[in-house]
């Protein structure tokens, strides 16, 4: 919304610079606008009608349609500076005849007022009007149209003028069900749907109501018999029509907000008064009024203590009442409360909190202290564990020389198909303006791969990167999202096991130490199928680790993805005590396990001895990791320090592992007995 300083002063004559500096006063007004809710986002010193003036650009609050006008702005300034507004006096315009208009739109129209005027001989606008409109970014057209726009700027109410001689028969406000197109005043052709509010006659569509006029009954320099109409619609309907048709006009901007239907009277009287003034032979012949439910302001109860309660500082009831009256609110005392009635154009004030805001913004947010750190009461920490897990993982990976990246969660089908390994369906957005990326990522690899490509293009070396973010999919018809960790490393030599250690180290630091691997059930297209494993913890699949397919033998790209939500569940489960008091020496014993045919073959020896293993076979379908997990479950955690594989070698087609177990808080004999029993050697 643009406004000239002279326009404000015209309505608030008390607005004078105390020391004679207009410049200073205008800056003071701009600061006030910003403070009370209409931020000044532009300010320019200009000349209007040969005199110094200022063009102020305001970001009007979304819920203040009344302030999209000179009058509305003037009321705001007057309230802040405690001055009076003197509106242009207008005479009530009435006519005995009735215009033939039918309204067939149900409840989508709140009010219509129309006047038929004869002898309104059109002409070019006077220079002052043309100059003024240009400051408001409106092109001058002709006298009648320009007066209509002038009234809109002044009052906030758009009007629509029709050339009565071009109208065929009766005027109708209808919901469109037959017109496929309208040609607007500027000659644009707009394709219509079937649900717009329109103005039509017996033959033609005359306007998209509340949005833009059509060219059929257009006012031109030959017009002198006109119908002027103003209407207030269901703002949601205007908004929907304008958005569906991708049109934004001065009229739609105002009418898709809450405008007070009562204000039409002043605006229409002003318009007709101006037409009579500039077209001396103009005569109002007929009128039409439609106002099924006249608006009344709500009566709102206000507790005198509420402004202080919300502000945190003392604001007396007297101060509150004074401010409200400066804002044109009626205030009456009733028992221990006030009954506050806002003026009808304040459509935004409905609740006590709205009234409190009015008091506080005029009282001044700048009067509320800002330098006191609040001593708020201590409350329970409800931070979920996943927040801390994310933070820990970021710390660990950056300590392991990995850089964090963040990427787009939107991608496309072909990329998703290359990286997805989960059993879920892709989610597609319905209206993304970014046509190339309509789908939600199913694996966090999408962003990391893109980052890798960008780094390679720009000669970035040492690409070790990770990302924590959401991945998305549909499971059994329901939308699902998971917190996911992706880690990618690009090496110039084979180092899968080095990469594996990074992943394991990260998980172990986070509290998940029982990680194992099995050949992936679902290998992503991007992965080398010979180097792709599911990451398993406590027999649950928590992620994937693989080497990328590559045609370059010198390049080795490794990727791992972890479902952090699942990992967190397991971390909670395996939250065993990891700190202990060491009272006895640790007893370490070895067991040799052969992975071959039906049963695990095991032999025992003390750590470091060279006794050859006798060998026990493990079921051929069982992995060594599963075997060890079972072994672990047999031992009381308070007596187990760790179990690990210290050696492995192939022998006669079997794989032989040396498993080393270290026991706590046990004598030599007790440890040996437990060891033999656990490994089935006794």
């Amino acid at each position: 919304m643009k406004i000239l300083y002279s326009q404000i002063k015209e309505l608030v004559p008390g607005l004078k610079a105390q020391d004679g500096s207009e410049d200073k006063k205008v800056h003071e007004i701009c600061d006030a606008f910003t403070l009370i809710g209409h931020m000044v986002d532009g300010f320019e010193k200009i000349k209007y009608q040969g005199k110094d003036d200022y063009l102020i650009s305001l970001e009007i609050r979304q819920n203040r349609a009344d302030c999209l006008s000179v009058i509305g702005i003037a009321y705001e300034v007057a309230a802040y500076f405690r001055l009076r507004v003197e509106l242009l006096k207008v005479e009530t315009k009435e006519a005995e005849g009735k215009i033939d208009i039918k309204v067939n739109t149900g409840e989508t129209i709140k009010r219509i007022r129309a006047l038929e005027i004869t002898g309104a001989k059109n002409a070019e606008s006077p220079a002052w009007l043309q100059e003024l409109l240009k400051f408001h970014d409106i092109n001058p057209i002709n006298l009648l149209v320009d007066l209509s726009n002038y009234v809109m700027i002044y009052t906030g109410y758009p009007s629509h003028l029709l050339d009565k001689d071009k109208i065929k028969g009766t005027l109708f406000w209808s919901i469109n069900d037959k017109f496929e197109q309208i040609t607007t005043l500027d000659g644009s052709k707009i394709k219509l749907g079937k649900d717009e509010i329109i103005l039509e006659d017996d033959k033609n569509i005359l306007a998209l109501a509340g949005i833009v006029g059509g060219n059929v009954a257009e006012i031109d320099l030959n017009s002198n018999h006109i119908i002027a109409e103003m209407a207030i619609y269901d703002r949601a309907k205007v908004r929907k029509n304008a958005r569906d048709l991708v049109i934004s006009t001065e009229a739609s901007t105002r009418l898709e907000k809450d405008l007070d239907p009562n204000g039409i009277d002043y605006a229409m009287n002003m318009l007709c008064g101006l037409i009579e003034e500039y077209c001396p032979s103009a005569k109002i012949e007929k009128e039409f009024s439609y106002y099924p439910q006249p608006r009344k302001s709500p009566e709102i109860k206000l507790r005198p203590s509420s402004p202080s309660r919300f502000a945190g500082i003392e604001i007396t009831p007297e101060q509150s009442v004074k401010i409200l009256r400066d804002l044109r609110f009626e205030v009456e005392k009733s028992d221990e409360r006030y009954i506050v009635t806002p003026p009808t154009d304040r459509m935004d004030v409905e609740l006590e909190e709205d009234v409190v805001e009015e008091i506080l913004r005029i009282y001044g947010f700048d009067k509320i202290p800002t330098d006191q750190v609040p001593t708020l009461e201590v409350v329970k920490d409800i931070t979920p564990a996943i927040i801390n897990l994310d933070e820990k993982i970021r710390d660990v990976l950056s300590a392991k020389s990995y850089d964090e990246v963040l990427s787009w969660p939107l991608t496309n089908k072909s990329v998703n198909e290359k990286v997805n390994y989960a059993n879920w369906q892709m989610i597609t957005t319905q209206n993304s303006v970014n046509d190339e990326f309509p789908d939600l990522r199913m694996s966090i690899a999408t962003g990391l791969v893109n980052q890798l490509d960008q780094y390679r293009k720009k000669n970035v070396e040492f690409i070790d990167i990770f990302e924590i973010g959401k991945v998305f999919g549909k499971i059994d018809g329901k939308y699902a999202e998971r917190e996911s960790l992706g880690v990618l490393s690009c090496k110039n030599k084979k180092d899968l096991n080095g990469f594996k250690k990074v992943i394991e180290g990260t998980l172990r630091t986070a509290g998940l130490d029982s990680v194992s691997y099995k050949k992936s059930a679902k290998v992503p297209e991007n992965a080398n199928p010979h180097s792709c494993w599911d990451i398993v913890a406590d027999e649950q699949n928590i992620g994937i680790i693989y080497k990328f397919r590559s045609t370059d033998p010198k390049e080795h790209i490794y990727f791992a993805e972890i479902n952090l939500g699942k990992a967190l569940d397991l971390i909670k489960i395996s939250d065993v005590k990891s700190v202990f008091e060491l009272k006895e020496k640790i007893i370490t014993l070895d067991a040799n396990v052969e992975l071959l045919r039906q049963n695990p073959k095991v032999s025992s020896r003390s750590g470091g001895s060279k006794t050859p293993p006798s060998g026990v076979e493990i079921n051929k379908d069982e992995s060594i990791e599963n075997y060890l997990a079972k072994i672990k479950q047999k031992i009381d955690p308070k007596h187990l320090w760790n179990i690990r594989i210290v050696d492995k070698f192939a022998i006669d087609g079997a794989m032989r592992y040396t498993v080393r177990a270290s026991y706590l808080e046990l004598s030599d004999q007790q440890a040996k007995k437990l060891h033999l029993e656990t490994f089935g050697l006794s």
């Binding site: 979304q62 919300f310 805001e357």
Partner: protein
Amino acid sequence: MEKDLITELNSDLEKFSNPDDLKRIYDKYLGKEGLIKSELKKLKGLSPEERRIKGPQIQSLQAKAQELFDKAQQDTMQKKTEKTLEEQRESLDESVPKVGHLHPITQTVRMLNRVFESMGYSVMEGPEIETDEYCFKRLNVPENHPARDMQDTIYIQEPNILLRTQASSVEARILESYKPPFKVVVPGRVYRNEKVNKSNHFIFHHYQGVVVLERTNLKDLFGTFTHLFKQMYGEDVIVRFRNKYYPEVEPGVGLDMQCFNCKGQGCALCKNIGWIEMGGAGMVHPKALEMAGIDRSKWMAFAFALGLDRWVMARYEITDIRTLLGGNLAYKTDKNENTL
């Protein structure tokens, strides 16, 4: 005789080459059958007078020989140790390990988290695929409300399933799910249906917060944010609080910081306004509290939302918003940095 024996011992000690030789030398001179022992044995056959003269000479000889031998043995051990140390020697090379980095958004979120945690806030998160109810309705943004103009939405399944346009959706869930009192911040990614270019993106990073206590007010809100901005930008920072409309709050507050680039004089960074808009805040709208089942007469609540992207761009001198997510963000490495 004594002199010859010591000369001979010295000669032997100079020539030996391994620890076994040293043992033989010991046996030759100081062993049970050694030369010195045999001289001592000979004393028995001497007269008392001769023993008085000869005895101390031989004992002196024995002590001297023992001294020479001990020194030789010590030298041998030292050489052996040195040899071992030499064999185990390792050198420091000049390379240093590569350093990993956190994303600037993460770094900024952490800085904010630390400040708010120090004031007793919890950190929460929530879903990015949201429903219309939690993203809009429960925050007092009903269908066709003008405020929705501010937030063009990416829909998954119009009109009910969408990508959240604001982290306030988590606020709606927290208000519904937790019993007051609580103080919570929510860092999170939000989505708007915008074409991606140098200045606009369809993804933004929000930092949302909500406080519900028996007694809190705008003074607490202003104090909180003055403290936050001072922690982030230093004691000299100037903060402005102005009235602003947000449907989720009433009264609503715009949070501005005086432009650090021009100190309020107006420049390109602040679009000649002198202030930089840092976020929005206000007292939680009574309808939002009612929809969450929170008794308005008992509880007071304020909420706030900060947009992090502009902060981060200014702090790290990033000129293109796409850099934050689009692959052009890189981390400077030291010239000696190397992967070990």
